[in-house]
Subunit: 476 residues, 2 copies
């Protein structure tokens, strides 16, 4: 038994997140009829998203019926198996509630309440750790938003639902130590239109930490790409152990908060994280093939290309555009990112010369002119994508032009669904463009606001598959 061999092993052993992410019975401790209470919002979430397991509101003072569910005065009163307890009560009552969960053989807990190490209450937080260890019950938080799983329909995010858009189902799992970064990025993901597998906000990481989450998401079959915002790593050795394995299985986009000295100080007062030297982190990230995001934009941009596109290690990118100037910018963007423009084969050139109107100069970037319609896009993409001199495609579809409309978007979607080579789409614009962008994103086409973002994302994809030693075999 590892139980006696030290704290790290202890935690390692019991921090399986399955009961938290895929529970078959959930107790909400602090559930309330009062809509201002966090426990009310969480109940409402469960009801709204249609959680299919059993739901047990727990409230010391309220044994009647809360929001249509029979309420209990304590977890021990439930008398049925509870996989997950979500604890949303003031900090000082949390240890007692957690102790009761342990006694009632609850399999995992999320403490959303704040008021622990992040405001100096380290002792109170230590009590949670002790209880978690005693009952071998993984505890997420405290000071977190908890989790959202798109299949089990668990959703503990206690944010007003009209203020945050929730994404559809996709392959990206997003873990964020910060609830603020987590919820705002989740909202942005929904706005963009791509989907997620799960979301985890883990706060102070008193028990369940980066290592557990990375390990869990590595094994989760619905997760194709892991995106991580972290402010520090508590268990360096174990982190490296998981890091060594995970990127061989799936890509990990990582954004580290506190990479500057002052940022690290801010992180320490935020989630009580020891940020450590950025150089050390960067060295680890690079060594194990993590995809490092330098900003919120990178996180989203990298996640969607890695989720939706096949692998490649080749750097020869074909640019197909319906606007000349954007083609110029795209060419610059490729070279600034260490990529290069593809040289079409003689065969493709001959086909395109026949297919394109005389005004189109058949060269790279291929400027098909402002009147290019779905037929011209189709001809260009089908010819160029099968050219052996081309490793990936950047298609610039400007929806302001007379020729581009929903048929062009539909063509890009159908090409993308069958594609053997990676493709990114660039569509900067306003409301008409947004509609088409969302149409494409929700069908798995990664769409970017600028050629710079698209080139940077292609580079991230190529770097990842180069690290993997990708040999052209199907990877998804």
């Amino acid at each position: 038994m590892a139980a006696e061999t030290g704290k790290d092993n202890d935690i390692r052993e019991y921090a399986d997140l399955t009961p938290i992410m895929k529970p078959s019975g959930v107790a909400i401790i602090g559930a309330s009829r009062n809509p201002d209470k966090v426990g009310h919002v969480i109940m409402q979430n469960y009801i709204d998203v249609g959680y299919s397991g059993r739901l047990y509101p727990v409230n010391l003072n309220d044994e009647g019926n809360i929001m249509g569910f029979k309420a209990y005065s304590s977890i021990s009163a439930i008398k049925r198996p509870v996989d997950l307890a979500v604890i949303a009560i003031p900090a000082k009552g949390v240890p007692k509630a957690l102790e009761e969960c342990g006694k009632a053989k609850v399999k995992g807990a999320i403490v959303v309440s704040g008021g622990f190490a992040e405001i100096g209450e380290r002792q109170l937080q230590e009590e949670l750790v002790e209880i978690s260890r005693k009952y071998r019950m993984p505890v997420m938080g405290p000071n977190c938003l908890g989790v959202m799983d798109m299949r089990s329909r668990v959703d503990t995010l206690f944010l007003p639902t009209f203020k945050i858009d929730k994404p559809g189902i996709g392959g990206v799992s997003f873990a964020s130590q910060s609830g603020a970064v987590g919820s705002s990025v989740l909202d942005m993901i929904a706005q963009e239109g791509f989907g997620i597998a799960s979301f985890i906000s883990y706060g102070n990481a008193a028990v369940v930490d980066e290592v557990d989450i990375l390990d869990y998401l590595m094994r989760d079959k619905h997760t194709k790409v892991i995106v991580f915002y972290m402010e520090g790593v508590k268990r360096g050795k174990e982190f490296i152990e998981v890091a060594r394995k995970v990127t061989k299985i799936k890509p990990v986009v990582i954004m580290k908060g506190g990479i500057t000295e002052e940022g690290a100080k801010a992180a320490s007062s935020h989630t009580a994280s020891m940020a450590g030297s950025h150089e050390a982190y960067e060295a680890v990230f690079r060594q194990f093939g993590f995809t490092e995001a330098e900003g919120i934009g990178d996180m989203l941009n990298f996640a969607k290309i890695l989720d939706t596109q096949p692998g490649t290690t080749g750097k020869r990118i074909a640019i197909i555009t319906n606007g000349g100037g954007t083609g110029v910018l795209a060419t610059d963007a490729l070279y600034k990112n260490g990529l290069e423009i593809a040289r079409l084969s003689k065969g493709s050139e001959a086909v395109l010369k026949k297919a394109m109107p005389p005004i189109v100069n058949v060269r790279m970037p291929l400027d098909m002119a402002g009147d290019a319609d779905d037929v011209r896009f189709d001809k260009a993409i089908s010819t160029i994508s099968s050219d052996p001199n081309v490793d990936a495609l950047m298609v610039i579809a400007l929806f302001q032009t007379p020729g581009a409309d929903s048929r062009v978007a539909a063509k890009l979607i159908s090409y993308n669904a069958a594609a053997a080579k990676p493709m990114v789409v660039v569509s900067p614009g306003g409301s008409y463009t947004e509609v088409h962008k969302k149409m494409m994103e929700s069908s798995g086409v990664p769409v970017y606001e600028s050629p710079e973002d698209a080139a940077r994302s292609l580079r991230a994809l190529i770097d990842y598959y180069t690290y993997r030693g990708y040999n052209g075999k199907k990877n998804r």
Copy 2:
């Protein structure tokens, strides 16, 4: 007379853009009842935006009435003063039409038609230059979208109106050699919600070029910030002459296409521009205090801070946030951009300690917690903005949180209207956030998607005012 002293002086002398930008009579050559024709779309634009001057459709084959306006078979048949002729007919007919304009003493022309130097028809383009010189009539284009002026209501953009959002009135004038880059960025500006003074798409720059446009916008009293996308400069000496003056009067955000060798080749086949070495351009841009944009995002981000915010040369930035993690990222972003976090005075600290609830740790970044409402934002901003240790403010308003709503946005708007120090707002998110972002942007608050964009834009502002030798006097 300069007329005989050489081509450059010639062009310099007559390239005043006033008749093009603020015409009192406009002829549309190629006006048509057929909605597929460019001349129809331009007519419709003029009607839609409510151009207040006289409008004269010209069509060789159609002397009746076009879209409610009496049509003419030629420009000479109009017999009234025409300031601007917009020419939208096939390329080979353009020289004749332009010659007629010259004879009829038209003061300026825009040739929107393509089919000139950009496809190798250099001789045909040279004919336009000759006619322009002969009649001392400035000609914009060919191969361009033309112009949009928010006061004169001139609008020659022949793009389907449902495909492109048009911005409101503001202080940014945006000139783009590329119609594609121009129209997509215009659409993005409208989507963001900030306004423009004018838009110029100048295409092949056969006559009216970068120098003329920069010179015109420098003098235009409605233009507070110039944003320029260019693929090359035709007259280096004259460009430097204007460059030397312009940034002492107003900021110029510049994006150069064709900065890599391959990008330059693409630019050459696009607008027949000689891109030249990027090092040379960069040296000039830096020497004369231009604000260089490295991507489409930068162009928009820099434009709005320079348009709306007062000057500063100080680098001490106060961060006020309702989400801890975003505050950590903001701190990192400051230092990555060579800025620093402000240290509050003892006085401000004391005031804030009283004003904030106990859970708020009064330090920088100031994390006011997720329940921060307009009152808490107000107290923090009013205290911190008057602290002598603070040069500028970065306010992170996450609208996913329970406390943030339209009142917080209203508070930021009213603070911004009266502010003596620059402020940027960071609000990443989806639809609820977008509504508030637009509300703020349209009232002159620069709102960013990420702390990285906000810090980068603050840096651009500080660099510009440092170049100007700004001494704290009111600059707007």
